[in-house]
Symmetry: C2
Subunit: 353 residues, 2 copies
Amino acid sequence: MVAVDWVGGSVRFIDQTRLPAEERFEQTADWRVVEEAIRALRIRGAPALGVAAAFALCLAAGDPRITSMNDLQLAFRTALEGLAASRPTAVNLFTALARMRRVAEHSFPSGVAAVRERLLREALAIRQEDVDACRTIGELGAQLLEARSTVLTHCNAGALATAGTGTALSVIVSAWTQGRIARVYVDETRPLFQGARLTTWELGRAGVPHTLITDSTAGSLFRRGAISAVIVGADRIAANGDTANKVGTYPLAVLALHHGVPFFIAAPTSTIDRETPTGDDIPIEERDPAEVTHAGGIRIAPEGVEVFAPAFDVTPQELIGAIVTEAGILRPPLASAIARLAFPADGERAEVR
Amino acid sequence: MVAVDWVGGSVRFIDQTRLPAEERFEQTADWRVVEEAIRALRIRGAPALGVAAAFALCLAAGDPRITSMNDLQLAFRTALEGLAASRPTAVNLFTALARMRRVAEHSFPSGVAAVRERLLREALAIRQEDVDACRTIGELGAQLLEARSTVLTHCNAGALATAGTGTALSVIVSAWTQGRIARVYVDETRPLFQGARLTTWELGRAGVPHTLITDSTAGSLFRRGAISAVIVGADRIAANGDTANKVGTYPLAVLALHHGVPFFIAAPTSTIDRETPTGDDIPIEERDPAEVTHAGGIRIAPEGVEVFAPAFDVTPQELIGAIVTEAGILRPPLASAIARLAFPADGERAEVR
């Protein structure tokens, strides 16, 4: 199962809003369909957003109605701006857009065909780097878990959230094959149930024993000593190590601290944003109140009720035991570990925001 | 609005599973309808369960088909056993059953009419004590809150959960009239959304400003310094002060500790069970997995997924800043404060379980 793919000049993706009831793949040559899919969370997960956005720019540049470099530049810029405005928190989106923009600008003098070819090459490289990162993250992260661990995860940081095997779920599946996992507890992840819908579906396919819980049931499991580690993905990691991830992650980190349980992040280096100094500087997307006032399409709360619906929260670096990246396991102090990393995207993402 | 009432020889209650969409009252002279309503959470909330169970025993004893004391004793015992098996955690249910049983046994020699009359008198006393307790809890508890507090609550501890004005919500509404409340944050309370459905409805009727959040959004609010106190109800308070309440309460207590925010319980003394030494001894009801795998009647999780669905969790006494009861505000060390209380139900509840 590949969440986002490039097939015959078009983007093919599985509509994650329909899972697990329906495994429906969509295929489109229209970048606006990809943008809508990102906004509607048909495509979701920080690394997958980067790959999807890169492919979407290839679609924009590849529009057969484009006949001149002026047309191409306009189409590319329009798509870049539309995609940059789609979702604000996951930095992988901006990392990918910045890389694609640099390639485009460097190749504009070479003509339409060359721009298209180099954009696609870059998008496929972004995809391949993510595939490789997922595999390495899985291998490295598995070493963090003792034999027969019971691991808690939140939201979905699996194959669906990446171009590869996932981040936190890559660690879990890799650890499972090594006998390091006895059971995975899966937070349902309100309001959109990515844990209940997507993570259970992925773990079921992988044959990893798992138990679904409501988000607030995690506390009971900690108190019973039933959790030996927490591992989740990330949407943006600030320069000091503070990490934005799906809302509900921070309470797990506090529970883990209270119970002396290690708390791990798994994310590719494309999720690290050294231009964002701390978690307080990460823009937190707020979602439509209807996602909270309704469940399964049914209104549960009274009409007109005020809602606070952030999509993400920030876990401060001091609660994070390790960040598993493809460049190695980052250990506290995370600010120094992040500063020592060498990677190329710095200084360019700010321009596409 | 009275959640559970005695009207013309029958029990009248609002069907809480239909709120807020529909304000439907049911009226019945059949104790089994009340028992089903308790099992199905049409009637819920620890104090309301006690009142409903007492009224249900009056219905059982009042069955017009009863012609002899033998009939009455059989009907009473059958209803007592059925009600005792309806829900295991809230101790108010057993407190009420034990009181009713004692009254019945003492009055059996006096004849059917006398038994019926004394049972009704006791049930009405249980109801009135709850009404009085709610009012006193509201008045006492309001003093715990500073001016313009922002208060977080979980589940529903309002009028719907009692025969009176509620426990935690009685404190909140009382504090609101004194200018001590700026805003109430309401946890939606998965899986059955008692916060989203019931607490918002009650606060809306009372005119108290409130904001609905998913349960795991509370962490974001603590981290922003937006919560000045947490106040919740209770389903059973052990002799040492450990408190069972709706699942998701314990994580709030840990977050409150981490952020230096006071955490309060509001409950009548009928919720205190000195026969249960600690929280580890409180039986925790597990609910139907379908409550987690479905939302709004729609299946969200894959078929066959394993679910862990406790209805309650236990907050250890050391995380509780105060327990507001009608007999006063209990302060740590809670075990001593509870030991000093004088109330009558001890030694009888065990017999009806």
